[in-house]
């Protein structure tokens, strides 16, 4: 990327209002830091109050919200707090994920409850939160600010890895959901991305593959930078044509 387009991307990220789920560890935490560094307003969601307090102590500019996206009754309270804190929303990043059973298990050994939990967190949660926040995102698009939804995907959404059944099936469904959202919402000015971060050195990866060689894993900070660039690039691409002047309108 040349210098000019990098500046252009950063310009489109600065001043934005960004919400990130699963924001207290791994990629989510790296995204919180990356967007804060770029001058955006950030609200993040996580299940545990203590973890949130640790992040907001380090980053007092970010708003932490206690909530569990897998729970239907948490969605609107989360949405209310995001929208109250940010006064609207330009970017939603559905990052919170559930790995399914740990240690990873063959599908035949996976409890139904583990599959349900993975689907609730990785598919239904992003669907519900997107629905609850779509009005605000579409308003941003109409007002010329631009809006983007980023759903964090996985190569397990595409490839059939043994023992990754609950996670892989839920991420495959999220990936396809994202593609259909994108087809439907681009007309509203709210494109939807599904991005695979690759294998990262995160607590979740350590749970899934405890004996992985960490030196070969991507740093979540690197991925966060790539994702923020992708969001900025898409916003720059989606920038609406300038509004017609009164003279143009009556011509």
């Amino acid at each position: 990327m040349n210098r000019n387009s990098e500046d252009e991307v950063r310009r489109h990220v600065g001043g934005l209002r960004v919400a990130i789920t699963g924001g207290t560890s791994g990629l989510g935490l790296a995204l919180v830091r990356e967007f804060l560094n770029r001058g955006t307003q950030v609200a993040f969601v996580a299940r545990h109050r203590d973890s949130i307090a640790n992040v907001t102590k380090e980053h007092p500019g970010a708003r932490g919200i206690v909530g569990d996206v897998s729970k239907k009754d948490d969605i609107h309270p989360i949405a209310i707090q995001i929208l109250a804190a940010l006064g609207g929303l330009d970017v939603l990043i559905n990052n919170a994920s559930d790995l399914g059973p740990t240690p990873l298990a063959l599908l035949a050994d996976t409890d139904c409850e583990d599959l349900e939990r993975a689907l609730a967190t990785n598919l239904l949660g992003p669907f519900r939160l997107t629905k609850a926040l779509l009005g605000a995102l579409a308003a941003s698009a109409r007002e010329g600010r631009g809006a983007v939804i980023l759903n964090v995907s996985s190569d397990a959404a595409i490839n059939a890895y043994p023992r990754w059944g609950a996670y892989g099936a839920s991420k495959a469904a999220l990936h396809h959901l994202s593609r259909i959202w994108n087809e439907e919402l681009t007309a509203e000015g709210v494109p939807v991305m599904s991005l695979d971060p690759g294998d990262m050195d995160t607590p979740m990866h350590a749970m899934a593959v405890p004996d992985a060689d960490r030196t070969k894993l991507k740093r979540p900070e690197t991925v966060a930078r790539e994702f923020a660039d992708a969001v900025g690039g898409l916003l720059a691409f989606m920038k609406p044509e300038s509004q017609p002047t009164l003279q143009e309108a009556v011509r």
């Binding site: 708003r63 919200i65 206690v66 609107h76 309270p77 989360i78 949405a79 209310i80 707090q81 929208l83 109250a84 804190a85 006064g87 609207g88 929303l89 609850a132 779509l134 009005g135 605000a136 579409a138 308003a139 109409r142 007002e143 010329g144 439907e184 007309a187 509203e188 509004q243 017609p244 009164l246 309108a249 009556v250």
Partner: protein, 358 residues
């Protein structure tokens, strides 16, 4: 009219009465609302999401139970939720008609309230024993969390099952600033918005903190609507200017949009963009300068929403509309049927006077 008792935002059998600018009445299926619009029309809706503004708890001085219904705020800023106006109810809940609810204990300045995780002080009594100014304790983020988790949507006895927030958020809901739903927006869904695009109908939004529609107390109801803050985005104001310059209609979705746009009215049908506080009442003597037509719920005589209809039509037309709504079993309240009313533009009236055969 009969009460709509189920929380269905877009019932398949929803009805719509249209009163056109000549006073002619027609009946439509509300699902075909879009057919009343034409290419170039500008539709403006209120994108406010509805707060869970009913808070149950205890009046600490008396130890008696209370329900606090948040009713107003001065601005749309996050911090303004700390100092809401509120109407206090006694014991019981929405299942009892508001007119029959037991009175709350007498409120005094500096009384303390415990509302789930929230604590509040009565800062002032606002000219009626049940209308108060509150001050919540604590950091603003804790107030929002307490409200989001403990509050319930305000509701009335015509719906006997508890409402969830998803029942009262319109599909386009954004900023959580309304105390009751801007329910005319229930008629919209994303499929209709897509059809607007396909038919060349422009769609824009404002944000208006819709307040209480009823308190069950005649004195308090006479004060409605309370002052309501709003925000008109520059893109919406520009679209309104364009529409009027091009002789196109501005169609408001709901009374709150009419109130905000007419409060922000400038000459020649344009509006100021930005934040404002709507303090006016719209009625018989109001001259609408911005809005040409409105989609709204059906409203009962005596309510402020009903009075607003007088700005669109004369007494005779309103009487005929009411008779027709009653005769055709239209449903009322927030999940009820709809009306679509056009106002007669003075220029059109003059034209007709000059050219009666036209």
């Amino acid at each position: 009219m009969i009460a709509a008792t189920l929380p269905a935002q877009r019932p398949p059998d929803g009805k719509l009465l249209m009163m056109d600018g000549r006073g002619q009445i027609r009946h439509w299926a509300r699902s075909r609302f879009i057919d009343l619009l034409g290419r170039g029309d500008l539709v403006v809706a209120n994108d406010a999401a509805t707060l869970p503004a009913s808070l149950t708890g205890e009046h600490l001085r008396s130890g008696q139970p209370v329900e606090v219904r948040l009713a107003g705020r001065r601005t749309l800023a996050e911090e303004s939720i700390r100092f809401p106006t509120a109407v206090i109810f006694g014991s019981g809940d929405f299942r009892i008609r508001t007119e029959e609810r037991p009175l709350p204990p007498p409120m005094k300045v500096r009384d303390r309230l415990r509302l789930g995780p929230l604590r509040a002080t009565v800062d002032a009594i606002l000219g009626h024993p049940r209308l108060v100014q509150l001050a919540f304790d604590g950091p603003v983020e804790e107030i929002w969390e307490g409200l989001a988790r403990h509050g319930r949507p305000i509701q009335y006895s015509h719906i006997q099952t508890p409402l969830a927030l998803w029942d009262v958020w319109t599909p386009i809901a954004g900023p959580p600033v309304a105390f009751e739903p801007p329910s005319a927006g229930f008629a919209l869904d994303w499929s209709i918005l897509r059809s607007f695009q396909e038919r060349g109908i422009d769609f824009r939004t404002i944000t208006h903190a819709a307040g209480l529609s009823s308190t069950g107390d005649a004195e308090l109801d006479a004060l409605l609507p309370f002052d309501e803050p709003y925000y008109i985005p520059p893109a919406t104001a520009l679209a309104i200017s364009h529409a009027h310059l091009l002789g196109r209609r501005v169609v408001a979705i709901g009374t709150t949009v009419v109130r905000a746009l007419e409060h922000a009215a400038r000459p020649a049908g344009s509006v100021w963009s930005g934040a404002g506080l709507a303090t006016q009442r719209i009625g018989r003597t109001s001259r609408l300068g911005v809005v040409d037509a409105m989609l709204s719920g059906t409203h009962e005589p005596g309510t402020s929403h009903y009075e607003l209809l007088r700005a669109f039509m004369d007494d005779d037309a309103l009487r005929r509309m009411n008779e027709e709504l009653g005769a055709a079993d239209y449903r009322t309240h927030e999940f009820g049927d709809s009306v679509f009313v056009e106002r007669i533009k003075p220029s059109a009236a003059r034209f007709e006077q000059q050219c009666p055969a036209a």
